[in-house]
Subunit: 213 residues, 2 copies
Amino acid sequence: KIGEVSVQVLGILSLLLVIVWSVHFRGGLAWSIENKGLIFNWHPILMVTAFVFLASEGVLAYRLFPGTHQLKKAIHLTVQLVALIIAAVGITAAFRFHNESKPPIDNLYSLHSWFGVTTYSLFALQWLGGCYTFWYPGAAPPTRSWFLPYHASLGIFIYILALTTASQGILEKLTFLQSGGAIGRRSTETILANCLGLVIFALGGVVLALAPR
Amino acid sequence: KIGEVSVQVLGILSLLLVIVWSVHFRGGLAWSIENKGLIFNWHPILMVTAFVFLASEGVLAYRLFPGTHQLKKAIHLTVQLVALIIAAVGITAAFRFHNESKPPIDNLYSLHSWFGVTTYSLFALQWLGGCYTFWYPGAAPPTRSWFLPYHASLGIFIYILALTTASQGILEKLTFLQSGGAIGRRSTETILANCLGLVIFALGGVVLALAPR
Ligand code: HEM
Ligand code: HEM
Ligand code: HEM
Ligand code: HEM
Ligand SMILES: O=C1O[C@H]([C@@H](O)CO)C(O)=C1O
């Protein structure tokens, strides 16, 4: 019980922290405006929603939600699909920020962006492989039980990559802001965003402890 | 077999990449000199040696090394102790770089440093707990078998934290160099260090797949 409650508390806390950071400290959100920084601000919010909050719920769906096995499977599949869609919008926000800045900023140069593309690609492949094997058209029962341990272990590995990528993004954004002198190295904003990074891995620790492996 | 070989290949590749980066691209190593950057250069090398290469060997010691259970246990314990000692020197190098720079640089402001201190502390506690329970003075057999699953799961979680922290360090160093204009965002050095980050997580993936959980 305490594990399940912690997942929800830490998940909601990550959402709150990333929203306070982007909206209160970074100046808010916009999708079409001259201030490209406000378009970027969607990126942290959407990525934490998709690949931290929803991915955690999705990985633990069989454990967290009541109902038949078939219902849990539908929730597991749907939550991860929603995560993939929200993450696609979130990554678009980062690319738009780069491409529409004057002068434009290079794409895909950072370790964070390399991890980001790797995570997104593996997450999408994992979803397709899971859907094909366990839902539609669905494989024969022996193939399903042969594939399940790989699906579960790969799923956990991709989930870890997602948390790592999110923590890198937080670090990179703070480093830009601090190096440019926009915020202090001991500012409230720095401390809040560092706490977001720690909360994400506290959540990850609980999810790993609860996930059947 | 292919798993065990991959661990060694990827582990040695991480060591080679971090050495080429620090020695060839970053100007080499020193412990007492005016150029504090050369003291810092020990930090990546020692941290990758300790918390990537040795930690991987240590986690898999029961699987990688031949001999009696008692011998494997001694190897497991010793490798992780050596990792702790080397990591202590590596963290000292980062602090000396900060404290002896003119003007001095703040300590412990970054998310990387917060993850670093958390990882080091948990690694040290894990070592003490493991040693106390399974080696000296050693707990009663029922306590040992009760504690073992916690020891194994916590050990894996701390290992994941170590890899995450290393990847953050690489990203942070590159961001400093790129923002200051010292290296290009598409330079050979950037690509080499990004590859180091990916290799570290490829190694992590294989270790997680091989570790009995
Ligand atoms: C798992 C979650 C995340 C993924 C998959 C991800 C992915 C990406 C990708 C692919 C880019 C490259 C965009 C381009 O090259 O045009 C990017 C850029 C960026 N992201 Fe994220 N991101 C994630 C979370 C975050 C978070 C939580 C932050 C926090 C602020 C963040 C901050 C940044 C920044 C500052 C950039 C621009 C600099 C760069 O290209 O590295 N990211 N992200
Ligand atoms: C990228 C998205 C996905 C991730 C990260 C993921 C991850 C996981 C993980 C970690 C497990 C093991 C945890 C557990 O058993 O409770 C699991 C189990 C499972 N997943 Fe997925 N999965 C994804 C997509 C899918 C899809 C699209 C399907 C299609 C139906 C699917 C079907 C299953 C099934 C049937 C199980 C076994 C549940 C059981 O009987 O215990 N997964 N998944
Ligand atoms: C798991 C391995 C690692 C741990 C535990 C770790 C730990 C730390 C700690 C505790 C500090 C703070 C020093 C201070 O505040 O004076 C630090 C600083 C630093 N580390 Fe690491 N580190 C690791 C790996 C790396 C790697 C591989 C790099 C790659 C270059 C790196 C780059 C840096 C940089 C640039 C700093 C100075 C800026 C800052 O304080 O964040 N670290 N590290
Ligand atoms: C920070 C250092 C340590 C880490 C990260 C760590 C991690 C792990 C992991 C992941 C496992 C499960 C993998 C496996 O069973 O092969 C394990 C098993 C074990 N560890 Fe540790 N450990 C550490 C320190 C120690 C110490 C100091 C001892 C003292 C002897 C110890 C004793 C054991 C024993 C007895 C097992 C069970 C092996 C078996 O029978 O399968 N560990 N450790
Ligand atoms: O000391 C030990 O404890 C575990 C196991 O006996 C616990 O049940 C193990 O493998 C040891 O070497």
